[in-house]
């Protein structure tokens, strides 16, 4: 159980206002876990707990315990933790550099200087994100000139450059068309061999297509967690059933 994430009674608040309450969850390794729930229920906040980002923000409070491969993340260096747990944000935020420099930004930070090695990494990770063919001729182009879907895939590829064990994705397809979404979905299914993936999504059908486990969050509480098959065929909780039937939208 090398790179599982385990949450024990995790609660979080912004300026004293509780946003997550008593969440206990075990995210299995080498699979895709989807987090679903209505807008504002705390999905993004939960992701930011998992990579220690929330702790660093002003006015936030966190309690409970989060273990990465059995190790308490509170006791890890924040940089070390984030190298192991990558996060891709809801809206793509490429750095205002060229595609190539976006990809080498973190590698340089970790001391990779060799041009050949950098080239190899850039190519490998762009290929994994299904972007290489589209941009291989223009790696020097500004990342801001890519389309929204390309930017999102670039951000995923960029997150992969540091070789994380866990990859957290916050609604990576929310701004994309069907085709770009399905490219990303296919990519994620391939990536789960190597990484543990947690994806927040508003798209129930997408969760059903790609995930192995589903966590349903409602009002800051974890209502139900189970395998995708179980959640979709026989949800135990009434709230889950209502949500899946589209009552909360």
């Amino acid at each position: 159980m090398e790179n599982t994430l385990t949450l024990h009674h995790v609660s979080a608040s912004y300026d004293g206002k509780a946003v997550l309450e008593d969440i206990s969850l075990e995210i299995p390794a080498h699979g895709i876990t989807a987090i679903i729930g209505p807008s504002g229920c705390g999905k993004s906040t939960l992701l930011r707990c998992m990579n220690g980002m929330l702790r660093e923000e002003k006015g936030t409070g966190i309690s409970g315990e989060i273990l990465l491969g059995g190790q308490d993340i509170q006791k890890m260096e924040p940089e070390q933790l984030r190298r192991r747990v990558g996060l891709v944000f809801q809206t793509p935020a490429p750095f205002p550099f060229s595609i190539y420099r976006n990809m080498t930004y973190a590698l340089r930070y970790y001391g990779v200087r060799d041009k050949k090695e950098l080239d190899r990494q850039v190519r490998e990770k762009l290929e994994m994100a299904g972007l290489y063919e589209e941009v291989s001729q223009e790696l020097d182009k500004s990342a801001h000139k890519l389309s929204g879907g390309q930017q999102q895939r670039l951000c995923i590829a960029r997150a992969l450059t540091v070789e994380p064990e866990v990859l957290l994705l916050d609604e990576p397809c929310s701004a994309l068309d069907v085709k770009s979404s399905s490219v990303i979905e296919r990519m994620l299914v391939q990536l789960k061999e190597r990484y543990t993936i947690v994806i927040v999504t508003h798209n129930i059908a997408q969760a059903r297509r790609i995930s192995d486990h589903v966590a349903f969050l409602f009002g800051g509480r974890l209502v139900e967690f189970g395998t995708t098959a179980q959640i979709f065929s026989e949800p135990r909780e009434e709230q889950t059933r209502d949500f899946l039937e589209g009552i909360y939208g």
């Binding site: 990579n51 980002m53 660093e56 923000e57 002003k58 006015g59 924040p78 940089e79 070390q80 933790l81 984030r82 190298r83 990558g86 996060l87 891709v88 944000f89 809801q90 809206t91 935020a93 750095f95 205002p96 550099f97 060229s98 930004y105 973190a106 930070y109 970790y110 500004s142 801001h144 951000c155 960029r158 997150a159 450059t161 540091v162």
Partner: protein, 280 residues
Amino acid sequence: MHWKARLVKYWAYLSMGLVTAIILFLFGYVFYQGADTISWEFLTQAPSGAVLGEEGGIWPAIVGSLFFTATAVVLGSIPAVATALYMVFYCKSRRLELLVRMVVQCISGIPSIVLGLFAYSFLVRDLGWGRCILSSGVALAIMILPFIEVRAEKAFHELPAQMVQSSYALGCSRWYTIRKIVLPACKGELVSGIILGGCYAMGATAPMIFTGAVAYAKVPTSLMQPAMALPMHLYLLLAQGVTSMDTAYATAFVMMGLILLSNLLATIYARRSQKKWRIH
């Protein structure tokens, strides 16, 4: 359009026109009055005459002002930018943030003559630095610190938060993020804020009257000497009365020209670096 909305629109146009007219008139007037006296000699010679400044030029004052300004900019902008970085990227406590903000606001509320008094009694007298550019520079630096800090903080806040957080999310340290993303992205605004702060320092008289600016001195060669300064010189010329009115206007002309030029450069620089950053 609704008549109220129309009224507000006309009012806005009118005030804009009025303000522009006043500013143009002010500059035009000073430039017109001073233009006759301006000459190559005026710019490059030391003042002379029975009453100082009635004849000769203002070269030592120009150089002196640049010295005062440069000292103030160096001493003021470093802590100002550092404070802004701390406030935006390091400080995790709301209370501490509030406290620092209050302190900065208090500093900006100190009358500049009080800064002069402080620099005089503490630096010139107690520490024995004597009247010199450095003593004035410290007073001026304190004066422009909040000015620069506020602008720097605003620039940092306006960066897209997710861009900065993306860097953290890759496990990169704050310092690396600041060096590689934040500072390059804000360079234009930082430099222009610092130049504007320098203009502010260049025009101030009160902090240097007792601490380093003197009626007459040679072109300075070190920071431990007193020096002439344009606003101080202007003040003295005015105080002397009618006979030195022409040189007073010419001095004002040079001062405003310098400040206008710096402002222009600051704006152009900010524009250009912003554009460059966006496209690349």
